[in-house]
Symmetry: C2
Subunit: 127 residues, 2 copies
Amino acid sequence: MSESASAADKIKAVETYIASFADSNPQGIISIFADDATVEDPVGTPILTGRDSLRTFFSKAVKMGTRLKLLGPIRCADDYAAFPFAVELNLDGSDKRIEVIDLFKFNEQGKVIQMQAFWGPENMQDI
Amino acid sequence: MSESASAADKIKAVETYIASFADSNPQGIISIFADDATVEDPVGTPILTGRDSLRTFFSKAVKMGTRLKLLGPIRCADDYAAFPFAVELNLDGSDKRIEVIDLFKFNEQGKVIQMQAFWGPENMQDI
């Protein structure tokens, strides 16, 4: 088993990710990803690949006022970090909260090479 | 994208899984898995394959008094269910609590074909 990064490094990346949403800072969000990273959000929908696609995706999320709130500890195992959180955002004029579990896979440079977001319609509510 | 089972079916499987620990019922635990299912707990350790290996693994867990407590909603997406929970068990005479995220992948028959448990030493504490 190859360890890509320490648990502390992975936790720091997740914290940077969440703080960058709070700061409306797409560049901060993008900074944790590898150049050829993939994003599947939610799992089962088309996969975005590469920095330009991710920048478009996350810039749009920031414009929607997206905020993330961690709902429990970050779980690190092997090359992965998994964590439960709530997303709050404005969707077509309506405030929504979605409870999500993200799974980040890290490469040997400590960058996120794969992001998968697990959530379904059952996890979305009006707030 | 092929949907293996409805979200309701997946949620029911997870609930059966948790209830079977509470009932000290290894057979109930095994019942949610496909014959050729794999279990990786925690991720990064050797993968168990098949019903006999799973029966040994879960029987041992039941003997340790393992209890699972859901810590948030089950997130269903595509062929997957992900959920945050705490495991409480007796490890070598000491009571422990581990905060885990499990990821179940379902086959077309609605059985769990792959289980991955995400947790690390940072997620374990004495109770």
